[in-house]
């Protein structure tokens, strides 16, 4: 088998596997969120569909498929149809650069567990993930209704401001690693300390900005059920609504994965060095993959945990926090990291 064919097949297999991981996780995240929410409120949660409610996401999906797809008469048709796709697609595209584990050996070749091992991985993430704001803004605009419009406008303002501190907070990570390639960032952490301990300020800012980027409580201003009905997706129904939903949950998974990669050491297992892990061959890759998933799922749990702890911010508080607090902290983090690595890091 020649190299080109091998690479194409390997890429296709990886795309299939990773996209399905994201899809299934996205679906089951809805169940997990409802279950954890229920536990935190002393309830039981969904338990009727299948054993312990495990088939609930399938029932929900079927329901979305068979619902009537209403397109209200007052909408801007083209943008209205385009918007759900614009939120869903970027969330999946970002998956391309996330390293899921150490390289595996297949047929004597090393295959990295990432779909596209870009030199500028993190730039790709920011470039693509910020596109999803267009989906939300278009949805708000095209719906031609006041609640959707307000949700869309809030979303664009919020995401543009939080994009800045999101970007600034990871600068320190790349100063420490000396590269923008996400695989190398993980290896650098595996050999040194995890960035969450080396740069707690950067982690704090990134985590907060990640909540704002994915429109999750306490920053879910675009949806804000209590004030805006359902915000930008008020006028959507059926599968189009499901696409917004899926886009949101996929984005949550992507950002959890990014937190794992950038700050929690990616596939690194505490007390096990990178060399030992690679020495185990493919079993090492499996262990690394599991370690990575545990970290990403833990952060997904954190998303739900925070949702029931902190109430929604007011919009001006949100902007104040973003511009007056988080950006200076992120800059401070860059300065501290720069000073620490002055010697020759």
């Amino acid at each position: 088998m020649n190299d080109l064919l091998f690479n194409i097949v390997a890429a296709l297999v990886k795309i299939l596997i990773f996209v399905h991981i994201a899809l299934i996780l996205g679906a089951y995240m809805t169940l997990a969120e409802r279950k954890v929410s229920a536990w935190m409120q002393d309830r039981i949660g969904p338990n009727r569909v299948g054993p312990a409610g495990l088939l609930q996401p399938i029932a929900d999906g079927l329901k979305f498929l068979f619902k009537e797809d209403v397109v209200p008469g007052h909408v801007e048709k083209v943008l209205y149809v385009l918007a759900p796709a614009l939120t869903l697609v970027p969330a999946f595209l970002v998956m391309a650069v996330i390293p899921f584990g150490p390289p595996v050996a297949v047929l004597g070749r090393q295959v990295p567990l990432v779909i596209a091992d870009l030199d500028v991985g993190i730039l790709f993430v920011f470039a693509i993930s910020s596109l999803s704001v267009y989906g939300i803004t278009f949805a708000g605009w095209a719906s031609n209704s006041k609640y959707a419009m307000l949700g869309g406008v809030r979303s664009s303002a919020q995401m543009i401001s939080y994009e800045i501190c999101l970007g600034l907070s990871v600068v320190g990570v790349f100063m420490a690693a000396g590269t923008l390639r996400l695989m190398d960032v993980v290896v650098a952490q595996a050999d040194g300390t995890w960035n969450v301990f080396a740069q707690p300020l950067g982690f704090l800012v990134f985590a907060i900005a990640a909540f704002a980027e994915t429109n999750r409580l306490p920053f879910d201003m675009p949806e804000a059920e209590t004030e805006l009905v359902a915000g930008y997706h008020t006028e959507y129904s059926s599968m189009k609504f499901a696409m917004f939903f899926l886009g949101e949950y996929t984005a949550m998974f992507v950002f959890s994965a990014l937190v794992a990669v950038l700050f929690l050491g990616g596939w690194d297992i505490p007390l096990v060095s990178e060399a030992t892990l690679r020495g185990l061959g493919n079993w090492g890759a499996v262990l690394g993959f599991l370690s990575f998933m545990v970290k990403a799922l833990a952060f997904l749990f954190f998303y739900v945990w925070v949702r029931w702890t902190i109430p929604r911010f007011r919009f001006d508080q949100l902007m104040q926090l973003g511009w007056k607090v988080l950006i200076p902290i992120a800059l401070l983090n860059i300065a501290i990291t720069g000073l620490l690595h002055l010697g020759g890091g």
Binding site: W39, D42, I44, W308, T309
Partner: protein, 173 residues
């Protein structure tokens, strides 16, 4: 006179809000392991006290006699006029027959309570001189037609059942 609550200025670490958020996270986390209070309704039922003011029912005494003498006081007191009673006749007793419920007292020939009208006020129970009608702890009433929810005599005795009480009206007669 109102109490003046002193508002202390926040300390520097309190102004960060992080300690408050952390303690809040701890609170929600601990909450996850507390027992759930949800009842799985059709399978699990809440415990209803005997004094619950649910559907009214007619009762029999410990020897299976109807206690209601169809005096119709409940029919008159009922605020939404949910009760409709048709009194029965007293049977002529044979000359040497002992006194019994069917030859001394009247019993209702028909007794209807329209549960769509009933407001569960309990006046019927209060007014009854014979202690023959009681509010029970039956709380599940449903039917697919309106007629099903007009309880007739059989249904009312089924709901009320037997009530043993210390006054033995027929003892020694």
């Amino acid at each position: 006179m109102g109490k003046v609550v002193e508002r202390k200025p926040l300390k520097w670490y309190e102004e960060l809000y992080l300690p408050a958020i952390l303690s809040g996270l701890g609170r929600t986390f601990r909450q996850m392991f507390k027992p759930d209070i949800t009842l799985q309704y059709p399978e699990e039922r809440p415990e209803i006290h005997d004094d619950y003011r649910g559907a009214p029912g007619l009762v029999r005494d410990d020897e299976g006699r109807e206690k209601c003498v169809s005096c119709q006081l409940c029919e008159f007191i009922c605020p939404p006029r949910a009760i409709l009673i048709t009194p029965g006749e007293i049977r002529e007793a044979a000359p040497d027959e002992k006194a019994g419920p069917d030859n001394v007292e009247k019993a209702p020939k028909e007794f209807f309570i329209d549960m769509l009208r009933c407001i569960y006020c309990g006046y019927c129970e209060e007014v009854c001189p014979e202690e023959a009608i009681f509010m029970t702890n039956v709380y599940e009433l449903n039917g697919s037609t309106r007629a099903e929810l007009v309880h007739d005599k059989d249904k009312l005795y089924e709901i009320g059942g037997t009530r043993v009480d210390p006054i033995k009206k027929w003892k020694g007669k």
